[in-house]
Symmetry: D2
Amino acid sequence: MLKIAVFGAGRIGRIHAQNVVAHPALRLEYLVDPGAHVGALAAQTGARVVDVHTALGDPDIAGVVVASPTALHLEHCAQALDAGKAVLCEKPVDLDAGRARAASAKLGARDARLLVGFNRRFDPHFSAARSRLMAGDVGKLESLHITSHDPAPPSPAYVRESGGLFKDMAIHDFDMARWLLGEQPTEVFAAASCLIDPGIGAAGDVDTAKTVLKTASGTLCVISNSRRSGYGYDQRIEAFGSAGAIRADNLLQSSVSTWSASGMSSDTFQNFFLDRYADAYRRELEHFVQVIGGRESPAISFDDGVAALTLAEAAAESLRTGRTVRVS
Amino acid sequence: MLKIAVFGAGRIGRIHAQNVVAHPALRLEYLVDPGAHVGALAAQTGARVVDVHTALGDPDIAGVVVASPTALHLEHCAQALDAGKAVLCEKPVDLDAGRARAASAKLGARDARLLVGFNRRFDPHFSAARSRLMAGDVGKLESLHITSHDPAPPSPAYVRESGGLFKDMAIHDFDMARWLLGEQPTEVFAAASCLIDPGIGAAGDVDTAKTVLKTASGTLCVISNSRRSGYGYDQRIEAFGSAGAIRADNLLQSSVSTWSASGMSSDTFQNFFLDRYADAYRRELEHFVQVIGGRESPAISFDDGVAALTLAEAAAESLRTGRTVRVS
Amino acid sequence: MLKIAVFGAGRIGRIHAQNVVAHPALRLEYLVDPGAHVGALAAQTGARVVDVHTALGDPDIAGVVVASPTALHLEHCAQALDAGKAVLCEKPVDLDAGRARAASAKLGARDARLLVGFNRRFDPHFSAARSRLMAGDVGKLESLHITSHDPAPPSPAYVRESGGLFKDMAIHDFDMARWLLGEQPTEVFAAASCLIDPGIGAAGDVDTAKTVLKTASGTLCVISNSRRSGYGYDQRIEAFGSAGAIRADNLLQSSVSTWSASGMSSDTFQNFFLDRYADAYRRELEHFVQVIGGRESPAISFDDGVAALTLAEAAAESLRTGRTVRVS
Amino acid sequence: MLKIAVFGAGRIGRIHAQNVVAHPALRLEYLVDPGAHVGALAAQTGARVVDVHTALGDPDIAGVVVASPTALHLEHCAQALDAGKAVLCEKPVDLDAGRARAASAKLGARDARLLVGFNRRFDPHFSAARSRLMAGDVGKLESLHITSHDPAPPSPAYVRESGGLFKDMAIHDFDMARWLLGEQPTEVFAAASCLIDPGIGAAGDVDTAKTVLKTASGTLCVISNSRRSGYGYDQRIEAFGSAGAIRADNLLQSSVSTWSASGMSSDTFQNFFLDRYADAYRRELEHFVQVIGGRESPAISFDDGVAALTLAEAAAESLRTGRTVRVS
């Protein structure tokens, strides 16, 4: 049994904590979170609530999941790596690409023990789509469409702390784009509006955006983001190649439909990431187990995290200027 | 231009008359129908209303579409064939299999000029399904499911004259079964109920039936008939082979769907045969043009009509006795 | 933690054992199986291999899962119930309806502690379909189609011991029919063939069957069974009501499809019951936990098991006689 | 019978000529085309080949379909309108927005007799989608995705004369966007590449483009264009509103699918506009008949044609500059 500490007992920390508990090879030893809400999770999982130093000082701890507030990610990662732990760090790695790049420069060999948690890469549907793409099933990739709409907007208070739509939400899609394009985007353009909640606009952010990426070879990518869908979690990709297209579609709650005088009506869509990415989080943790054991290299490096953050900053700059922003 | 006479100006006669008018190589010369309603169709199509003898006595008439009441089918076909015309005869060829068999015995060479109008064989969807089946795409056929549900029941008055569900409605499906099975059914079992309209029961008929056919080689076929669907015209086939299955599905009015908090909802289903089989009737007429010209043999012979009728009678007998009925 | 004993370490016993291990409120204490293969499962789960008497003599055992060979079901259920344990008994309850009815007569109050494992009732897709049906979404049920095709046939040796297609395989569908019809079938007809493996025929069984059920009110049900599909596990229902239809469809491995010059091609179908009914087995076990605790009555009683077995015997008799068999 | 002249016997002229012939209320009197290929169409349709003046000088000609080369559209429209004919003018109205605006200024009352042929507005699928949108089925529109990919690229020679991807191909999508947004786009951004045929690049054009439109109220629209799909004609819309989404999907050649060990495979996609928009062209002509008769105002005005052209020019400018272009 590998012993694990989870830093952060918020929404995402809870997912990881529960998956650690359910994993046959892992044991959740510690929860690190200064907030009162950690108590409930500790009671549910049987983990002990300790501070950072206690957790990292325990030589039996093999891995640390960093799901603390984003502002602490870099510090927590560095501390845990220095203590010799393997680290699974939640996205984004930071809210400032420059600071993240500086941190990257100091990582050195510790990089091989650090996995960034872009959970969607572990989604079986997106994995299957990418496998078909990489196998050349539709020839050479020419363009890519990513749809990523949340069911309902977060509060303006959340938005204010989040780093904004590009760093908080679209960052997943920037990583997906890089993963599927197989090539770095070199140009970024973004258009966006605040259409859903004026409070989001008052917080200085947008809630609806279309971002266009272009790679050196000319491959184009469109990312559609919305903080609201009205029908559930809209998470789709379409990859257009020289010989056809590959799609990963949304998922419904069941295969049931009703046929009536008004046509065919399905079951409801899966509502949000807890449903849609339940498997992805489990497969991500399984990969982390392999990283801890040194049997696999991290599928998503710190530099992948920096690259996604760089695209997010470029999109925000394009939005301010109305111009294409070049990324090196 | 080939000149055509259409016998019968009812629902089906009208379809044929309009298709003749729209066909670039055909001219609708005569309508034969003693009823007053023929006037409107004549006005619309520009055809002349005449009696049987006038129509058949005109040496320029190349083909006759027999869409008169079923009781007149045998007589009209014989008269038209004797007058040297090619004939497209609507289903069923008669309401009595014995009488139809006797008529068949007397046909002789005239058979090559007589096409029976099982329109579904010309449906592009069913044709495509059969092509895949005959090409061996799913190996050897093991069983076949035919779903054939009307949107809404006819009046009990219609039912009383119709010959009953098996001869009036399921006769299409018996022909489809023979066409797709590629082998004669030798055993017939039917179970049925009157669930939709007690008036249909009072007319001595059923409105909901499940018929099981078995061929000499053991292939099984289930036909589901209902006089009501609640959602439109349900016309589907599923063919299960040793290496997979082939389906032909229902059609919707458009490709539009709405995604909402209650899931995905499509457009309405095509309502009835005027929509679903519009192409089939046109392709059937096109084949008839080729039969008239001697370039193609009738795809559906009189004996095909007799065979479907024989199965209908066997189903009715099985329903009375609760036993499997053997058909030779 | 409730302590559980699992009787039988075969294919189904393994599923239950693993689900017990993964359930947060259960502990797998004992495995009972005289075969050598039990060792691997014991090693994997940490359970002890003991004999029936040891398992039932332990007062801490709260529930017993009976997944032993069918011939032992009645005896094991009786022993476990007599020992005061709650019991989850796999289907079929026995291979002889008369013997099962006799056992039923002796159950008395112990019935409230006995759950029969028709796992499909716990499938979320079928549950959702039934909820829509019971809510009257399509009016009054008029007919029901159940498709139940396995991906590939079992060995003739398995078939020989299985009780035959109706008791081994279709028994699930007889239970589904009863559950969805909301009314007892009173007439049974079956047609069947041996088309897939002559060895199955030599073992006295069939591998392809169509069964028609009719209830007192005239509702009709068709069950299609095949021991082979060529495409995976085909588990579908269609319920036709007075105002529309409800379907539960098959499941694919992912939502990915490829669009090419040959059309649209999906991912593969879920292969067999380990995939398709993984959730159902978990939900069934969760219900058993509630039954153990006395918080829920068994959703599927011993008499439900007897009723399905009675329909299976009627189907077999109909197959022998070619006649409709009445069931009371 | 209304007599019609068709100017231009190319690919689109042929469609209109054949639809005129098949329309019960129309008669194709003249074809106007200086090329030799007009002979075959004349022979097929029975129309006479004449020059512009003869056609327009015939007082019996009620309507003119202008499907001549784009460079002649403005001149032919003006001549026909001056001669008192109703006009159906193919897209684009011209290759120069300034010239088209000047022509618009001179139209005056003749505008009421001029229909611009953006055929997709008459497509039943897009019409149905728009009806749902306008009925408020998904609340207020927030963003719109238009996918418009041809099956295979035209020759570089065609491209060179075409006005380029934005004026030749995307012009349809600019019109669709205006029609569905219900509001004028005020900002345009385009990114594009030449990925399919270097000859298209050598002709100064692109073959793959993503265009982003934004309206004054902030609604966003993405148009995806490709000269090649590998699977047929990809013509889809997705409209995202405050309460859900509406989609119009692609069409397949039939409803047939095969289920096998590799999953489900459909029939092929409809290949190109002759299939997909056959109904749209017929419904467009039917509307033109109503315009000729003064019973309906043109659904698509000359100014609609100018507006689409203006967006096309803005997209081209954005492509050159890498900046958002404002459109008034």
